[in-house]
């Protein structure tokens, strides 16, 4: 595994007596495109684990565990995710895995984890992620949940917008999300005039944008493009004379987008995040995140911090580390308090199982290089 990154974090609270160790896994893009999300996932889980260890450890029944986080880099690729999952489930003896982020990665490992009863707490977006599964939980809302609300926001707040251009990554995540976005915009009365896909490794979008801009869109929906990629698309579109608006309803990171697009071009881009930037929770987690990774704080830290706390709490409530016991405890734990609000389970109608987290999602607009909260998106 050429790009394997293995970091085993054993966090000791300095407890006098020896404790058992509970290993949990992280699989996500720790390098390359999407690294902002992968490092957020890794950081969120590690911060939650660290806090529990410092409080004396995780109490499950009569035992107390020190939580150890074992992380692997899948580089947003299915093959790497498979290797990582094999390693976690084999030599590392992990039964609880946070991630992957990429839908292709998750769908590649899901048959194996379902067969072995290994639980996945994922941010992957494709609808098939949750279908026909017992042990997969999605810990953040996806386009399926928020698209009607975000599209309605565009309708109410951007009355001049009628023609929509959609651009997404050429993979499972992008295909799935763009289909939902296109339906949501069409049902709301917009004209989806152009839809394009790009490769995740792509940096130059001049040709794609030339084709898109020829259709004269009023708004370009950046969907699930990685934040840096979205910034490059914004900049290159502006350089090609595009004067319309941008929305990014899927994986927003203000700092990364502004860095890539430049402050001037990023002005007015609207997106959604799991937590409002520059709040007490954001800043506290950001300080802890900075100790773990040389990357900008983003909402995936909050999302997976909450998910990890939810899972560890379910283990304590179940009094057991048996997979089925933990699943039952998770399913019965709703509603539960996250760091920025109440969360609950849902998604039974769409996915056949209520393993989709519903949590607050805020609308953020980039103003003068910073994210400013402008509203809240109600989930479908």
């Amino acid at each position: 595994m050429a790009a394997l990154t293995c970091s085993a974090l054993a966090l000791s609270a300095g407890v006098a007596q020896a404790q058992d160790v509970l290993r949990v896994g992280v699989i996500g893009p720790l390098t390359g495109g999407g690294a902002a999300w992968g490092l957020g996932l890794d950081g969120g889980v590690k911060i939650a684990a660290q806090e529990i260890n410092q409080d004396g450890g995780l109490k499950v029944g009569d035992d107390t565990y020190t939580i150890e986080v074992v992380s692997y880099d899948d580089q947003y690729k299915a093959a790497e995710a498979l290797t990582a999952a094999n390693r976690l489930m084999g030599p590392d003896d992990v039964r609880f895995i946070f991630g992957p982020i990429g839908s292709a990665s998750l769908l590649a490992i899901k048959p194996m984890t379902e067969r072995e009863g290994v639980q996945l707490y994922t941010g992957a977006w494709a609808a098939d992620v949750l279908k026909d599964s017992e042990y997969v939980f999605r810990v953040g809302p996806t386009t399926q949940e928020f698209a009607p609300s975000t599209v309605q926001w565009v309708k109410e707040n951007k009355p001049d917008v009628q023609r929509i251009g959609l651009i997404a990554a050429n993979d499972e995540t992008g295909w799935n999300s763009q289909k939902i976005q296109a339906n949501a915009y069409s049902e709301a009365g917009f004209d989806v005039v152009t839809t394009e896909f790009f490769e995740r490794t792509q940096n130059d979008f001049s040709a794609i944008l030339t084709k898109m801009l020829a259709q004269d869109p009023d708004n370009i929906e950046l969907d699930t493009a990685a934040p840096r990629t979205a910034g490059l698309i914004v900049r290159q579109a502006r350089d090609l004379g595009y004067t319309g608006s941008f929305t990014k309803f899927g994986g927003f990171d203000v700092d990364e987008l502004v860095k890539a697009a430049g402050k001037q071009y990023a002005e007015g881009v609207v997106g959604i995040t799991m937590a409002a930037p520059d709040t007490e929770v954001w800043n506290r987690l950001g300080d802890e995140f900075a100790k773990l990774h040389k990357a900008e704080m983003n909402d995936y830290v909050v999302m997976f911090y909450d998910a990890a706390n939810l899972v560890f709490s379910a283990m304590e409530n179940a009094g057991s580390l048996d997979s089925d016991d933990v699943v039952a405890a998770l399913e019965s734990s709703a509603p539960f308090e996250g760091s920025v609000g109440t969360m609950t389970w849902g998604g039974g109608e769409a996915y056949g199982v209520d393993h989709q987290i519903y949590r607050s999602v805020v609308m953020v607009e980039i103003q003068d290089g910073a994210g400013v909260v402008i509203g809240e998106a109600k989930l479908n």
Partner: protein, 282 residues
């Protein structure tokens, strides 16, 4: 749309030329496939970042500095790593890959995985005949063409260039004429890596500097060089134009995935007809 297509193809052609030039130069003279070429481009990009953010230098000073730094690393790499693999294409490839992984890993450890912002020397675009020409990409393309012309002049109108060509054509005969390959190789490697550093420094304000930027650049350079003929500079230039035109055209007509497919199909067809590449030596 036709005008914009011509702009996109033209700007991309120039960038591909510069990215591929150093790669084919090193192979042509040393018979070394420098799979670390992308990482010398990375060194150029990060030199600009360090020069701007740590030293407070203007981009126009950071640009040539990036080439000097990349070229300097090239001389060190040639002396310590590649010299013993001259002529050994397989060994050179393997050690180049190892060097590439090392450089990329070092960059990631030092600066992290995030893309580093580079102050853009130019912003906005010109509008001519209905086409938009981004100023920063135009600057990069013009500089690329100047460097390509400069390299051509060096190879064809200087004693050093004459020595390089002699060593490339017949190293033993060159030795008999008093041209020492061990003095020529460091110069060739330095120039090849300096060109890569320049390419990275020109790309950095447009795309940012991030640890993975070398991989895509290497892939592009490799395709251009194989298509044009390994070791053939005119071939690389012609292939760069061909590849950029196909990619731009197919992307605009269809999508970027089909464009990538078309590019590789062209490479396969050309190599089936001319296994040495368009202008490669048979």
């Amino acid at each position: 749309m036709l005008q914009q297509f011509l702009v996109v193809a033209g700007l991309s052609s120039a960038t591909y030329m510069l990215t591929a030039l150093g790669f084919t130069l090193i192979f042509g003279i040393m018979r070394v496939v420098n799979f670390a070429h992308g990482e010398f481009l990375l060194i150029g990009a990060y030199t600009v970042f360090v020069a701007q953010y740590n030293l407070g230098l203007d981009y126009m000073i950071a640009l040539p500095l990036a080439a000097v730094v990349a070229g300097g690393f090239g001389i060190i790499a040639e002396r310590l790593v590649f010299r013993r693999f001259t002529g050994d294409e397989t060994g050179g490839m393997i050690v180049a890959l190892a060097l590439a992984i090392t450089i990329k890993g070092a960059v990631t450890i030092i600066w992290g995985v995030d893309s580093q912002p580079i102050d853009r020397p130019f912003s906005g675009s010109f509008q001519i005949a209905g086409a938009f020409i981004p100023k920063d990409q135009l600057f990069a393309a013009v500089m690329a063409l100047v460097l390509v012309a400069g390299t051509y002049w060096l190879l064809n109108h200087t004693r050093l260039g004459l020595a390089m060509r002699a060593v490339a054509q017949a190293p033993d005969v060159a030795r008999l004429q008093g041209i020492t390959p061990w003095k020529t190789y460091p110069a060739a490697f330095a120039i090849g890596c300096a060109l890569a550093g320049f390419a990275g420094a020109l790309a950095a304000p447009i795309y940012g500097a991030e640890p993975n930027m070398g991989e895509a650049a290497l892939m592009k350079a490799f395709i251009v060089v194989v298509l044009g003929g390994l070791g053939s500079i005119p071939g690389a230039l012609l292939a760069a134009v061909l590849l950029a035109t196909i990619e731009a055209g197919i992307s605009i007509l269809f999508n970027s995935s089909i464009a990538a497919l078309a590019s590789f199909l062209v490479v396969i067809v050309v190599l089936l007809v001319r296994p040495a590449g368009i202008l490669g030596r048979t």
